[in-house]
């Protein structure tokens, strides 16, 4: 059922103090009584989500009961490690650096990815960089079909639509990264008898913006109920370093810098937030025009995209299925 209420962008405003109290109480209860572990491992990427989770876990458990982990690889931005260290320093928490490049090379992650890129860009070789991108939903009602963007050593940019084999090959290879990171987080969890924190926000969790058995795997996910803009509100309240609060969300997965917008959500995250809220609360597309500043047809397209991504996410969320 839809309604024609006219919410404003303020609908996502929360009471950060009360929400922090609620989440930290839940973390304490979950870790100690439900999971019966002694602390939490948090993979910190230098992004807003993992930083907020680290701050929440430190508040809930005490900084001596959290283990921060940095897992850079050959394609990571140096900023990720620098900003991640800023979090560990601010929290006075123990941290460990595990460069996963050698593991990824052993699995031929980079080689497999580059072979797949060459299926559509034969000249792709040493010195080239790449990323994959989706068309913006603002353009038209096109299918969400990926293209690869490559940059040659002399700076030339080329964009080519992917074939099925190239697309699947690139994604399958790069997913080694998230799965290797999770393997390393569970090493520390086993070592310390800690639980692994998952760091998705509501947009990511709902829309399947994660790798199954990679960053999608965790023992608890303390901000998966929060819209992205609410995570920013908590970050400000918790005192997450301002440079992290200002950093544009990035996947930090491909050699070329890639925003989450061009990789998955295809429109600004604030707009995605409002549309997801509207969809979940039965607000008609017309009712969301004022809050988003978009026309009704556009909001309808976003609603349709949300539904479409939920269908894909169903597999990602599914546990192993058993015969009754």
């Amino acid at each position: 059922m839809t309604t024609h209420s006219t919410p404003s962008a303020d609908i996502l405003r929360l009471d950060p103090e009360a929400e922090t109290e609620r989440i930290t109480a839940w973390i304490r209860e979950t870790i100690s009584r439900n999971l019966r572990r002694r602390g939490a491992v948090i993979g910190v990427s230098g992004g807003i989500d993992s930083s907020v989770v680290a701050f929440l876990c430190a508040r809930a458990l005490g900084n001596e009961r959290i283990q921060i982990l940095f897992t850079p690889e050959a394609d990571s931005s140096p900023d990720s490690l620098r900003l991640g260290r800023m979090v560990a320093t601010a929290l006075k928490a123990k941290s460990a650096l595990e460069d996963i490049s050698a593991i990824l090379k052993g699995a031929r992650c980079y080689e497999r990815r580059d072979d797949s890129v060459r299926l559509v860009v034969p000249e792709y070789s040493n010195g080239y960089k790449c990323k994959i991108v989706l068309p913006s939903l603002l353009d038209a009602s096109r299918y969400s079909i990926f293209s690869v963007v490559v940059q040659s050593p002399d700076g030339q940019i080329k964009k080519v639509r992917l074939t099925p084999e190239a697309y699947l090959g690139i994604v399958a290879a790069t997913n080694f990264k998230q799965r290797t990171r999770k393997m390393m987080e569970y090493y520390y969890a086993d070592l310390l008898q800690y639980a692994v924190a998952g760091t998705p926000n509501r947009l990511e969790y709902d829309q399947g913006f994660f790798v199954k058995n990679g960053d999608g795997a965790a023992d608890f996910k303390p901000i998966a109920h929060l819209y992205k803009s609410q995570v920013y509100q908590l970050a400000a309240y918790l005192g997450v370093p301002e440079e992290i609060q200002r950093r544009p969300p990035t996947t930090d997965t491909y050699p070329l810098e890639q925003s989450q917008e061009e990789f998955y959500f295809t429109l600004p995250l604030e707009t995605m937030d409002l549309c997801l809220y509207g969809k979940d609360h039965g607000i008609s597309a017309a009712g969301l025009v004022a809050a988003t500043g978009m026309d009704e047809g556009f909001v309808e397209r976003v609603y349709s995209m949300i539904e479409s991504k939920r269908k894909v996410a169903k597999y990602l969320h599914a546990h192993s299925l058993l015969i009754d």
Partner: protein, 89 residues
């Protein structure tokens, strides 16, 4: 033409089970084809009918049902090629 496309869709997305796939059924609404499936469909159309699908043509109006695909192909193909490759129409 229609039969070739129908056979491809059934074989690749419906595990060979024809079921009740109507010529106007929306692939998106029925969940038959996702974005990777669209890539496969486009490659099939390009290879089978000798066309090139431009990025701006990748819209549901052209590809979201068997009949829409047929109409799209008929508009793209020279009339002689349409007749030669679509005896079942």
């Amino acid at each position: 033409m229609l039969q070739k496309i129908r056979a491809f869709v059934i074989e690749n997305y419906l595990f060979g089970e024809e079921g009740k796939l109507g010529n106007d059924d929306s692939f998106l609404e029925s969940g038959i084809i996702d974005s990777t499936g669209v890539l496969e469909l486009v490659r099939f159309l390009e290879a089978t009918f000798g066309i090139k699908v431009a990025d701006e043509e990748l819209v549901p109006d052209n590809l979201d049902s068997l009949n829409k695909i047929v109409a799209f192909l008929q508009a793209k193909l020279p009339s002689s090629a349409t007749v030669a490759s679509s005896p079942s129409l």
